[in-house]
């Protein structure tokens, strides 16, 4: 397990807005009066009840997300008091925010780098100061500009996809080994590759039109 200090201890208490009694700061519902609470200031992993890690089992993530939305989604509060409706919306919003980040490997890597690396990383870690990444990106872009058939685009897409898979495996190792600097560098590379995939899609649409 990675060491993250933004998770609130379960023993931290705050007064429930509804019955004013003590309620654990991370509780979704007041233990006494069952009223829905405001979302706790926890990280995305804690929000979904997961340990912080780059390796996320997507099926498990979906299950946790659905279970929580089943309890918190505004549809469950359609006949409730306005204050409870508003809180349910905030809870569901926080949940969607966390789900979107954790579901997507690039966003997850970026988030985890920032979560873990606040004290470790130098300022501007996400700026490219790595010549090889920059060169690779430029080469790819040149290739893309030359591609004028669907086949050529398919080839670039396959190549990019392979690279992405490689980077994801490397990221998993880097995070597991606590190599935050390495993970940061790989995340930057992943950003470029992801952008490339987007541009391939654009070129394909242009070619089809």
């Amino acid at each position: 397990m990675l060491d993250v200090n933004t998770q609130l201890p379960e023993t931290h208490l705050k007064p429930c807005w509804s019955c004013k009694g003590p309620s654990p700061a991370t509780a979704l519902f007041c233990h006494t009066c069952k009223a829905v609470q405001a979302p706790a200031p926890v990280d995305h992993f804690a929000r979904l009840g997961m340990e912080p890690s780059f390796d996320v089992d997507v099926a498990a993530l979906d299950r946790l997300y659905f279970d929580l939305q089943r309890q918190l989604h505004p549809d469950r509060f359609a006949t409730k008091a306005p204050k409870e409706k508003a809180l349910s919306q905030r809870q569901a919003t926080a949940l969607n925010d966390a789900y979107e980040v954790l579901k997507n490997p690039l966003m997850r890597a970026d988030y985890l780098v920032h979560l873990l690396g606040i004290d470790v990383l130098p300022e501007g870690c996400n700026l490219v100061h790595d010549q090889s990444i920059l060169m690779e990106a430029m080469e790819m872009r040149e290739k893309l500009m030359m591609a004028d058939t669907q086949d050529a685009l398919n080839a670039i897409q396959r190549e990019t996809k392979t690279e992405i898979d490689d980077v994801l495996s490397a990221l998993s190792l880097a995070f597991a080994g606590g190599d935050i600097q390495g993970a940061c560098r790989l995340t930057t590379r992943l950003k470029y590759l992801d952008k490339m995939m987007g541009e391939v899609r654009h070129s394909r649409a242009r070619l089809m039109a």
Partner: protein, 637 residues
Amino acid sequence: MAQLLQIHEPGESPIPHQDDAEMAVGIDLGTTNSVVAVSSEGQVEVLKDDDGQALVPSIVAYAPDGSAIVGELAKRLLLSRPDSVVSSIKRLMGRGAEDVKSLGGQMPFDIEPHHEGESQLVRLNIGGHALTPIEISADILRALKDRAEAHLGAKVEKAVITVPAYFDDAQRTATKDAARLAGLNVLRLVNEPTAAALAYGLDKSAEGLYAVFDLGGGTFDVSLLRMEKGVFQVLATGGDAALGGDDFDHAIANHFLEQRKAGLGETNLSAGEVKVALMTARMAKECLTTEDRGEWMLTAEDKQTKHALDRATFNDLIRADVKRTVKICHEVLTEAGFDPIDIKGVVLVGGSTRVPLVREAVSQYFGSEPLADIDPDQVVAVGAALQAEALTVGSDTLLLDVTPLSLGLETMGGLVEKVIPRNTPIPVAKAQEFTTFKDGQTAMAIHVVQGEREMVDQNRSLARFNLTGIPPMAAGAAHIRVTFQVDADGLLTVSAGEDTSGIEAKVEVKPSYGLSEEEMSTMLYDSMANAKGDMELRLLTEARVEAERAMLAVRAALQADCKLLSVREREAIGEQMDKLIDAIKGTDRDAINAAAEDLDKATRVFAEKRMDKGIRDALTGVAIDKLQSSVGDGENA
């Protein structure tokens, strides 16, 4: 940060009712036809008229006194009194005059000139009455409400109303405003393809990855959903809010009018005659769904012409539109990272999916025979009714939808800065920071837009407002945070504030294509003499619900911790609770609020005692936890 701008009012939230026996209905407010349905214990009934017709034509005729006739009768009047009849009004919801499609240079609507100070929302002249699409839609909703009330023998005030997934914010707001005018509280706006998926998922237990292809009279939607064990998760959605069967009618009518011009020379048709031409074209379209060819007569300017059309020519006329729907399907799938082969089934929704060329194109693209075993005209209302029951009675089904279009702000040079990209799960909130570009700048114009294009003027303008009262600072020093929030109905709220000063700045809102709150109140007043009473009733109901919530909370607290109180303290709280119970029985809203406030005061000391006890208990807990964890660590080492 203070909420400075609300494009939508929080007060629009439905009135919570104590009376749970009251039924909530599901309404499909369609371009061509509307349907109302009701669900009880999962059994859906689509409500029919005396002739057994479920579909209510979305056509309204206005009598000289302004009273409205809706449905089949209005449809019959369309041919004899076209000037006082209006159809396909959904196409103009949240739209401006420039959005109205002409036919052969002629408008099928008489458009009122725009007056200074009004919003850009189009106003029509129908039989001498100036009406907005919102008021006309309200008349259709009223007719559906009447049908439901007659059928159920009870008042109907709550509804789930469906909208095309691709409807933008202005169109959704217009729909909600129309419901408000009709005296309906919208429990939820549900996207039409999502409602259809709900009906299929629950009735036919469909599971896996499905596409819903919804081609209605005026709108096209395609949604990609994952369905499993009561979860309906929309992964991506796309469409065109101005593409539908109406366009097929336009294509045929244009074809007929071209033929007419070739025979009779230049013609100059009235809006009424254009409507008749469109009506004829529609009959031709419906006929060619089953027949190979046919002949139709067109009468205008006292001259009759005969027009023949066969299926092949009809297909040629609509081919470009049909191709466009397939292209949109492809874009939605690609963006979500899927191929047609990944899709387990395609559900057909909307009357226009009966057109043979449309079915052909869909099965060809997806490589499978599409599903249409629930009537494509009724499946959306069925889903809406199921969701209405789920919201009022409760259920385990979960509808997770997304934003159909990106939401953004205008930045320097007329460019759009996206704040919330399309296909983001809702509800969602995102903030963007901006700064001033001039020294001492105290105001900033904020322009909210919706759409995918890079330039502002290629997207839909939702609202403009000015953020004023920014303290004078050097250029770039102010931190202006603009927050976009989209609720579960897909409706946007925008708030803005300056961070460093925390100053509460004023905002002026001008909804570009909506009704101002003032216009809305006037309409409410005009349409219901008791509009003010309604507002009062809404506030009273809200006060009661809130008071009951507070009382339940105190009861729960007493049950948990009453031993913290002396007998006298307990009695004092009990006294205030009795007073509140009496106040709730009455109809004085201020008395209820005052009694609730008194109860809050009376329980303050109790709340403090409970917090103290909680913290004491927690500290004891921590001590034990620490002890346990150190023991645990020892074992692991």
